[in-house]
């Protein structure tokens, strides 16, 4: 399915990407993360199991097993540090 994927803060800088549109072969957030990890390099490093990052689907923070929907906006970002 088609997804809009956004990256923020340290992850945006490390991955060298603020936003992209891609086709995801799977149906969950975990599937998307696996697809991104398969790019290798910094993608595999930053999204490796055990690394701290959060995922929001359509602006709600979700768990890795959350389902994706066609044209969803998926944001991947480091733990937040506001306040």
């Amino acid at each position: 399915m088609k997804l809009r994927v956004l990256y923020f803060a340290r992850l945006r800088e490390r991955l060298g990407c603020a936003e992209e549109t891609l086709d995801c072969a799977g149906s969950t957030v975990a599937d998307l993360v696996a697809q991104l990890q398969a790019r290798g390099g910094v993608w595999a490093e930053e999204l490796a199991t055990g690394r701290a990052y959060r995922v929001a689907v359509n602006q709600d923070i979700v768990a890795l097993d959350a389902a994706l929907t066609e044209n969803a906006a998926v944001a991947i970002f480091p733990p937040v540090t506001g306040g």
Binding site: L6, A9, F77, V80, T81, G82
Partner: protein, 151 residues
């Protein structure tokens, strides 16, 4: 209820005045102002930049306030968070909660800050003598948020 994400500074006195203006049912207003410090993790901080996720930020802040309103009887809430470049001493965030009595005002004010620290999509980048660096999330913030129980 007033929720703002802005680059401009805010003024605590003006915000508290606005909360109470024209009403006589408020018995307590508790407020919190977070400031940019000149020191963090052993390094001097010359400036910081606050990045956020436009759209989600406003939604997340509104959800925090709604959650507080579901837990306590509140008469009004003001929540302002700044973004962009800030200097040491600059105000970053303001929470002001009006209630009938101090108990709910104190509790809701602290609750909103604890949840904001772990749920609102803001990220700080500091300028230090060693270069620019992203601030790492603190485990103590997760602990502070969990003491309020599950939502």
């Amino acid at each position: 209820m007033k929720i703002l994400v802005q680059s401009e500074a805010f003024e605590l006195g003006a915000e508290v005045d606005a909360l109470r203006r024209g009403r006589t049912d408020i018995g307590a207003i508790a407020s919190f102002v977070g400031l940019a410090r000149d020191m963090n993790d052993g390094s001097d901080v010359a400036a910081m930049t606050l990045e956020h996720y436009p759209g989600m930020t406003e939604k997340a802040l509104a959800a925090l306030v709604e959650e507080a309103q579901s837990r306590w009887t509140l008469l009004d809430v003001t929540l302002i968070h700044r973004v962009g470049r800030l200097l040491p001493g600059d105000p970053i965030v303001l929470v002001a909660v009006a209630g009938s009595h101090r108990g709910e005002a104190f509790a809701a004010c602290e609750f909103i800050m604890d949840y904001l620290k772990t749920r609102a999509p803001f990220w700080k980048k500091e300028v230090t003598p060693e270069g620019e660096r992203w601030v790492e999330a603190r485990a103590s913030d997760d602990v502070a948020a969990t003491r309020w129980g599950k939502t």
